[in-house]
């Protein structure tokens, strides 16, 4: 199935937005307003919920007219698009969202047609699946690593680069002793949180200039 590439799942949702002429501002504008105030850092709902590499939310107003001789046509609803690239299994992922960020889900999706709320997880999962489009083709540059593994690897890379720079011209016995110590510290350091800014020198390596 094209929704999956290696261990990466590509979820595409199109959720019809309520078209209530009495609503002011309209529901699509309320979604846009909420999203424009939503943080994308480590407090982001997608950072709080597990498993998301990259995700986006888009209010799709309409299809786009490309000009004559193509026909002009329009959608009857606006749609909220969720495009997410995450680790593993769809049911687990949706349950994880409902468990960890219900208030954000409800605040956004309550403007959509037929949204049952996140409290009843079975109904929530079924609703999301009803809005799902099958991805025709999914590309992933790295398709065998989880978010946690990638964050850990980025941390390791920074630490190793620092260790190497600090041990030029240091004799090999000392370098080996420091290396053993370095591994202990690296292993004991929790992986950085998702969507955090990098900390260039967060691991002391006991090298030449310190």
């Amino acid at each position: 199935m094209a929704n999956q590439n290696g261990s990466i799942y590509g979820l595409t949702l199109l959720c019809p937005i309520l078209n209530d002429e009495n609503a002011s501002p309209s529901h699509d504008l309320q979604i846009r307003e909420y999203l424009s105030n939503l943080t994308a850092d480590s407090e982001s709902p997608f950072a709080v919920a597990p498993g998301t590499h990259l995700a986006r939310l888009v209010v799709m107003d309409d299809v786009i007219y490309v000009g004559m001789p193509a026909c002009e046509e329009h959608l009857k609803s606006k749609y909220l698009v969720l495009e997410s690239n995450f680790d593993g299994d769809l049911d687990n992922y949706l349950q994880g969202l409902a468990t960890t960020i219900p208030e954000h889900l409800d605040a956004i999706w309550s403007h959509c047609n037929g949204y049952p709320g996140s409290a009843d997880k079975a109904k929530f999962v079924q609703y999301m699946k009803n809005c799902q489009l099958e991805t025709t083709f999914l590309f992933a540059a790295v398709n065998d690593k989880t978010v946690t593994q990638t964050l850990a690897a980025l941390q390791t890379q920074r630490a190793v680069a620092h260790f190497v720079a600090e041990h030029q011209g240091v004799d090999s016995a000392q370098t080996q002793r420091d290396f053993i110590e370095f591994l202990k510290i690296l292993d004991a350091t929790p992986p950085s949180k998702p969507a955090m800014n990098a900390q260039p020198r967060n691991i002391k390596t006991g090298g030449r200039n310190e």
Partner: protein
């Protein structure tokens, strides 16, 4: 609205297709998925983290009943979502320069597609069919696809080296440490803030 978060750009595009052409495109994607060598250019281009194409047949827009009206459309639609590193212009320039055959194969079924070469009409078309992202999240805003790949190489080499590196004699260490350095030396780039694009 923001199409950019750190080092990634979120592109959304939607193009209309006559329904009979949709079947040809499905066949092309089917082959692309089965023949991995056909994806090699996409991999070598190395600045796309994730990308997807989604065909929506004209009668398959999600319908939830309730107060929603059913869509009535003449065209099927091709949705394209890309998460790429670098600037919009850089991305389309590169696509046009090295992947034009592949792009033409995918988009020539869309109405009014001008072809991926020359680049200016192609850019005009993309700009016309692109719609903007309201909210964009990435778990690693300070890393590109290249950065992530490099980091995994360093991790893998460290995992290989750690056992021997901690147990061998200092004399052996000198040699194996050099081997480790040679294995990681092209992958030690630092991550951080993305350049300003506009």
């Amino acid at each position: 609205m923001s199409n950019i978060n750190g080092k990634v750009y979120a592109m959304n595009a939607i193009t209309p297709m006559r329904p009979w052409k949709t079947w040809i495109l499905r066949l092309i994607f089917f082959v692309l998925a089965k023949v991995k060598s056909k994806q090699q250019d996409l991999i070598n281009l190395s600045f796309i983290e994730f990308a997807r194409w989604v065909i929506i047949p004209r009668n398959r827009f999600p319908f939830l009943g309730d107060t929603q009206k059913r869509e009535s459309l003449k065209y099927d639609y091709l949705l394209f979502f890309s998460n790429f590193n670098g600037t919009w212009n850089q991305y389309i320039d590169a696509f046009s320069a090295v992947l034009s055959d592949g792009l033409n194969l995918i988009w020539r079924w869309s109405e009014k597609f001008p072809g991926a070469v020359p680049v200016t009409p192609f850019k005009d078309y993309i700009a016309r069919v692109q719609f903007d992202t309201d909210y964009y999240y990435t778990a690693y805003p300070e890393a590109t696809a290249n950065d992530v790949k490099s980091a995994h190489i360093v991790q893998q080499e460290l995992n290989k080296f750690r056992v021997q590196g901690t147990t061998c004699t200092p004399e052996q260490f000198q040699r194996t440490y050099l081997e480790f350095l040679i294995a990681v030396q092209a992958h030690l780039g630092s991550t951080g803030e993305a350049p300003m694009v506009s």
